[in-house]
């Protein structure tokens, strides 16, 4: 029984689109040991500690990408139902993909992603002050 499953997993195209991947793995970027359980979904696609991902799929679950670059989290997309999705960007080929947050994702890193724009110098406090003054006139 198990052998058949191994075979299917190896040779069937787009196996992971219909079957969950129950492997545990260590993160290639931060070395965090990641177990299958605890994510709250059957499709864990990023490290819960550093939120990085690896570019394996072209469309979710097909494992057909040959890029295998590391995908850095660049932002957060709030869906209409209030659910968060992390937006990953491949550092090699620049592909963007949204991924649902898991239950055990690092809460501090998640909030850091949301806060990151406010810590940069692109829109400074002086800019906002000028804007506010011009709108109050």
């Amino acid at each position: 029984m198990m052998n058949r499953e191994h075979k299917r997993r190896k040779y069937k195209k787009r196996y992971f689109q219909t079957n969950p991947c129950t492997d545990s793995f260590t993160c290639k970027i931060c070395g965090w040991p990641v177990a299958f359980a605890g994510a709250g979904t059957n499709h864990r696609n990023h490290c819960p500690n550093c939120l990085y991902s690896i570019h394996l799929d072209n469309t979710p679950g097909d494992r057909e990408s040959k890029c295998h670059g590391r995908m850095e989290p660049i932002g957060v997309w709030v869906r209409k139902n209030g659910e968060w999705a992390i937006i990953h960007r491949c550092t090699l080929c620049g592909k963007l993909s949204p991924n649902r947050t898991a239950a055990d994702d690092n809460p501090a890193r998640l909030m850091a992603l949301a806060l990151r724009p406010f810590g940069s110098n692109v829109i400074t406090q002086a800019d906002v002050k000028v804007l506010v003054n011009s709108m109050e006139e």
Binding site: W84, I87, L96, D104, P107, A108, M111, V122, L131
Partner: protein, 165 residues
Amino acid sequence: MNKYRRRTEYEYQKRENYQSLSENAENGNKRSYHCPNCGWASETGDLPQDHCPNCLVGIHEAEDEEGIPCGGMLEPVGIWAAPKDSWEIIQRCTFCKQMRLSPMADRDNLVKVLSIASKPLSSPPFPLERIKELAKLTGVRSEMRKSGDVDHIEHIVSDRHGKTE
């Protein structure tokens, strides 16, 4: 995207809209540009590079297998504060669901940009006052320092930049 999916009338309309836009651009008829989403018209007559500066919506121009541009609306979804102090607007096509980055321009609507950037902050997925308890549950590190707590902040910041670049 499914090649054999039927296109609805609405989508065809969008394509026509796109084609008329590109024709206008080719004829040098720049003054007639108006944003298909918010109706913003350019006063100076120059076309926006990537997206409408008023509502930050762009038009998806990636071509499919037939060689026809997608023509869907790219709605702004998030802001990426890239290293070297440049912001990029993350856009998502409402028709083919692909995502794209477009660099923020100087004349973009600041209020809109800030509201997009603060959207995730105002709707967190967990109660914010319990960050530390949650971090303990999962066993991950969560340190939150303020500028007064550490006197080597510049050192830390320069370290991080060294890693990312």
